[in-house]
């Protein structure tokens, strides 16, 4: 177990398997909240926050409760409940301790429950079977690290995409291409660029 494992986990989940462009998770906020760079940044921070905590909690839940009891088939129901209550908890916590952070993240937090990026990363962490590859506790580290990397990848793509969209707003496009269609084509070109990063690890 070395630092290289964690480094590989971050790079691979951030760039090579980018969560939005190559795994198609969290496309709704990617198209919905990316009109301005400021809101894209807020959404990415909220996603990062919840994603790391959720993968930590669900990993423990899966291996120490569901697997012990032999009821892993209800994992989807358990995970979505955990994520929903976690979002509520994080919202209350932030509201109590940091008014400023709440002002910038508050409106994005309720949207996160139904953000498929969170549930998707949690399910991927379980499907990747880190516990058998690295041992139970090191597996937890790798799962949380790759969740953090995925959130970084989400932030990277959100901010780059919102910057492009701000430029596109003032551009003389044909009427039928304005808005979402041209954004999707831009996303497609970005996905092509990210495909080129395959194989760097």
């Amino acid at each position: 177990m070395s630092v290289a494992v964690f480094f590989t986990a971050i790079i691979s989940s951030m760039l090579i398997n980018n969560i939005v462009l190559l795994r198609f998770l969290g496309v709704c906020p990617f198209l919905g909240v990316s009109r301005r760079t400021e809101s894209a940044l807020g959404m990415s921070l909220a996603v990062m926050f919840v994603m790391v905590i959720a993968s930590f909690v669900t990993y423990l839940l899966y291996y120490f409760v569901l697997a012990e009891l032999g009821i892993t088939f209800i994992s989807t129901i358990a995970f979505i409940l955990i994520i929903a209550s976690l979002v509520q908890l994080v919202e209350m916590f932030i509201k109590r301790f940091s008014k400023k952070l709440y002002k910038s993240l508050g409106i994005y937090l309720p949207l996160i429950t139904t953000n498929c990026a969170i549930l998707g990363i949690v399910e991927l962490n379980i499907a990747a079977n880190y516990a058998t590859d690295f041992g139970l506790w090191s597996g937890l580290g790798v799962a949380v690290t790759s969740a953090f990397g995925a959130a970084l990848g989400f932030a990277l793509v959100m901010i780059a995409f919102s910057a492009i969209r701000e430029r596109l707003d003032g551009y003389p496009l044909p009427e039928s291409w304005k808005g979402v269609p041209v954004s999707l084509v831009v996303a497609s070109i970005m996905a092509l660029a990210f495909l080129g990063l395959g194989g760097i690890v």
Partner: protein, 251 residues
């Protein structure tokens, strides 16, 4: 007599309720709901059909159950309860797919559990099933899910034909026969990139632009008709005024 008319009207509105998901309120091309599966599992026609069938099953059943229990759920825990109902049906289809269509299960991967967070299903539960009776909710859920499936199939067909040059069948769905239609007839179009991740965004973007084009044209035509009607009314009014003035002058 009036009862018969009323019944006919109700039937008409039910038909409209069933068909609105295809064009007027299409989940993908109009409301942009459920974009994640629309991008991820549409690289072939068959996986699109498989995903569509799973969504038909989950959305119809969750709409039925939500509309059955709508009066027992307190308003504060409405959304979590709906999510649990949906997650239950998703778990059922997940286990059924794993048992009866293992190839489909393998290729859809995590997008089967992710049906839970598909905005379309929660959206229908919240917007329709929690306010209407069981029969209407069933029709609504079934129609909307069929519209979603139709959109997925359009995307899947485009990507498979232009991406791989043919349409395979029996590979992912458990059909008794398998093979490929038009194996190489579309080879001149062979654009492998469309079958990959970038192709999903590209194909949906292009289809959206095409649909937008027709929608805008229709709207422009309607607007022109409306303006022409106003013009016509003005002309008639002016004529009548003239007539009246002439009459009064004559008198």
């Amino acid at each position: 007599m009036s009862a018969a008319i009323k019944q006919k009207k109700q039937e008409m509105s039910r038909l409209a309720n069933l068909t609105k998901g295809f064009v007027k309120e299409n989940p993908i091309f109009v409301s942009l709901l459920g974009m994640c599966p629309a991008l991820a599992v549409t690289s072939t026609l068959e996986t699109s059909i498989g995903m569509g069938l799973l969504v038909v099953f989950v959305l119809t059943l969750s709409n039925i159950v939500v509309s059955l229990v709508k009066n027992f759920i307190p308003a504060e825990i409405k959304i979590p309860s709906y999510i649990v109902i949906i997650a239950t049906f998703v778990t059922i289809v997940r286990l059924l797919t794993e048992a009866f269509a293992p190839a489909l299960f393998e290729s859809l991967g995590i997008f089967i559990p992710l049906i839970v967070v598909n905005c379309l299903i929660l959206g229908r539960a919240e917007a329709f099933a929690s306010k209407n009776n069981v029969l209407d909710s069933t029709i609504d859920g079934f129609g909307m899910a069929l519209g979603f499936m139709a959109a997925l199939m359009l995307i899947g067909l485009t990507r498979e034909v232009f991406g791989s040059g043919g349409i395979g069948y029996g590979i992912y769905l458990p059909l008794p026969i398998e093979g490929v239609i038009f194996a190489n007839e579309f080879y001149i179009f062979n654009m492998g990139v469309l079958a990959g991740p970038a192709g999903g965004f590209m194909v949906i973007g292009v289809w959206l632009a095409i649909f937008n084009h027709f929608r805008l044209k229709k709207e422009a035509k309607k607007e022109a008709e409306r303006l022409a009607m106003i013009e016509e009314k003005k002309r008639l009014a002016a004529e009548r005024k003239k007539q009246k003035a002439l009459e009064s002058a004559g008198a």
